[in-house]
Symmetry: C2
Subunit: 152 residues, 2 copies
């Protein structure tokens, strides 16, 4: 697992596309056991008024209907540590591995994923950290809304 | 919490609408602390080829963007015990309560919800049990796909 992976690149590009659109800059991509990109997506809260299209949910949705066996060998790449909803989606579909760009701006369900036997890799990518920190500083209301927290 | 609640009725009707459409017959509804229906929806796997629009996700999506405080007092009604993804969505948004039509056909993240301080009520509604059992018997492939399990 590294930053040269097709999945990481797709998630990274999705996060930047989200930023360009003025949205929450988080991207994700689902990659099959044999390295095929099954789907990618980014957070659509601001673009579509969506309360559920976090990056990982977008990637799963864009990948479409798949047999359970495809998820079981798959890797979910996400630019930011996954929230409880996206963690739960990875647990429900029993993906094999979750590769996370950074967890400095938000630490999600990494321990819960591990407790379910899912491999977790954190890349500590500084460019993604900077991208996310910038968004949170400029749009705190939207960021806290996105994770269901009140902005104190 | 009872079967006369506006939320239960909305979720129940959504499940039946899903059945009429030939889809996975699960419905959900989100109701505010003061009893207002914020949104409802049903599973859209078969209707839209969706891998993420489980009933609870549909209800959250149809409710649209809301401040965190609205979720915190809200109740999620769902006709079937929630899978890990939908459980995680309720945990992320910190809903106050989850009311479940039945858990005989599928037992989801009820204990996890309780561990996070969310009240869980199970109604053991026989009509919903029958509706779901009929679907599972007639469409085992779609049902197992919907919960990310291989059909053995």
């Amino acid at each position: 697992m590294s930053e040269s992976d097709v999945g990481f690149k797709a998630a990274f590009d999705e996060a930047h596309q989200g930023a360009e659109e003025g949205g929450v800059p988080i991207g994700a991509a689902l990659v099959s056991a044999d390295g095929k990109l099954l789907g990618s997506g980014h957070n659509m809260r601001m673009q579509r008024g969506s309360a559920t299209l976090h990056a990982e949910i977008s990637a799963l949705e864009n990948a479409g209907r798949l047999p359970a066996s495809v998820y079981h060998g798959a890797t979910m790449y996400t630019t930011l540590s996954p929230c409880d909803m996206c963690t739960g989606a990875c647990v429900m579909y029993k993906v094999k591995r979750v590769v996370i760009g950074e967890n400095k701006n938000f630490l999600g369900g990494e321990e819960y994923l591990k407790s379910k036997g899912i491999e977790v890799v954190v890349l500590h990518n500084e460019e993604l950290q900077t991208l996310m920190t910038k968004f949170i500083n400029e749009h705190p209301e939207e960021w806290y809304e996105d994770i269901g927290e009140e902005n104190h």
